[in-house]
Symmetry: C2
Subunit: 229 residues, 2 copies
């Protein structure tokens, strides 16, 4: 279960296969990527993938899980914020870590690209990924937004606001093929993350503030009079 956070063990063939697979699956896709290419890049024989993983699909599943674990290890969703932080700060941290994972071009840069492919064509590996890694993250965001919206907000409002946050973040990776064609010369990197996360956070907070206001027009004045911290 515990996956090494700094996984540079250049000697182990199995590990080299996982990393080569992540890289090649990410920019070729599952079907176009060939085990021959993967083994060549890993410096291993063609039979190695069968020896260590059984088949190509299983190797893919391992690569996907590994990439995600690396990305979350590098940029944890709470960015080290204490539990006592304000919901606003937590939301900003969530968004920032999300964007960093999506835009980082560092070591496991394939993480986001693998995810994109998984969304275009889900494989069985997605189910375990959602349950093991995505769901806890999702629930954390849910709680942050619930704190901001207040208890009076409906479940559907909560869900939609959730989707708005995630959608805004994802677009900076997903939409890249279109953005780069519409506006060449404006590729996004981790250097842009502070500005992007500030924008998404403030836009979302403004929306949430208005929703909260619309929802509880006849609540006790007291709760409305105290401006949020």
């Amino acid at each position: 279960m515990a996956i090494p956070p700094a996984p540079i063990l250049p000697d182990k063939t199995r590990q080299r296969l996982i990393e080569a697979a992540g890289e090649i699956f990410a920019d070729q896709g599952f079907h176009r990527a060939t085990v021959r290419d993967i083994c060549a890049r890993a410096g291993a024989n063609i039979a190695a993938v069968n020896y260590y993983f059984g088949d190509k699909q299983s190797l893919y599943a391992h690569a996907l899980r590994y990439a995600h674990a690396c990305a979350f290890a590098k940029y944890p969703a709470d960015m080290g914020l204490p539990a006592s932080a304000t919901p606003q700060a937590k939301l900003e941290a969530f968004i920032r870590s999300f964007l960093l994972r999506l835009l980082d071009a560092g070591r496991p840069a394939w993480h986001a690209r693998l995810m994109t492919r998984e969304l275009a064509e889900p494989t069985p590996a997605l189910d375990v990924l959602v349950n093991e890694q995505i769901r806890p993250n999702f629930l954390a965001l849910n709680q942050i937004i619930r704190d901001l919206l207040g208890p009076a907000a409906s479940e559907s409002t909560l869900r939609m606001t959730n989707s708005s946050v995630i959608g805004q973040c994802l677009f900076y990776h997903f939409g890249a093929p279109i953005s780069s064609r519409l506006m060449p010369g404006h590729p996004h990197t981790t250097a842009d993350v502070p500005a992007l996360s500030a924008h998404i956070t403030s836009l979302t907070l403004a929306g949430i503030k208005q929703m909260a206001k619309e929802i509880e027009p006849r609540r006790a004045r007291k709760t409305r009079r105290r401006k949020e911290v």
Copy 2:
């Protein structure tokens, strides 16, 4: 250039090939889809794709363009709004038409799925699609948001707000594989579009309003005093 808006000509092999191709490419992906499957579904011989389109890639390009044209013909971006409508109304129409194109499960339901795959792995066909169909739509949104933000807003603010709108919309199609696993039993259809577009519009407008306020703290009072229509 003009593509028939109601393209049910059951007899023409070429047209049947395009439609079968759109369907199969959409749920198999370019590489996994086989010309044998496509021809079988179209009731044509294997050599037909070579006869009519030259090769598989060219057939794919035709199917992609056709699907997009159908979707925009069914749900035009301005939803029939007059040019004199308020920017707020135009924004709502843009978002609503966007969501309808993404969530419609009607005849060319492959449109959005083909697009998802194109984003995961762009092909040469994406370049012409962006230039012919996506760019005009993008510029229209740009203008709407510029009208809402005011002339003082920076280009980067404009771009980011743009991305926020598109990202929120796209997520309801893109994120479906994850949403359906996180929250089974809440699939989105065109029936949800009014609620979704209302949410996205109001959240975005609240964000824009606040940005406009932050940008021009020392402008002539007159422009700020008149509430927007």
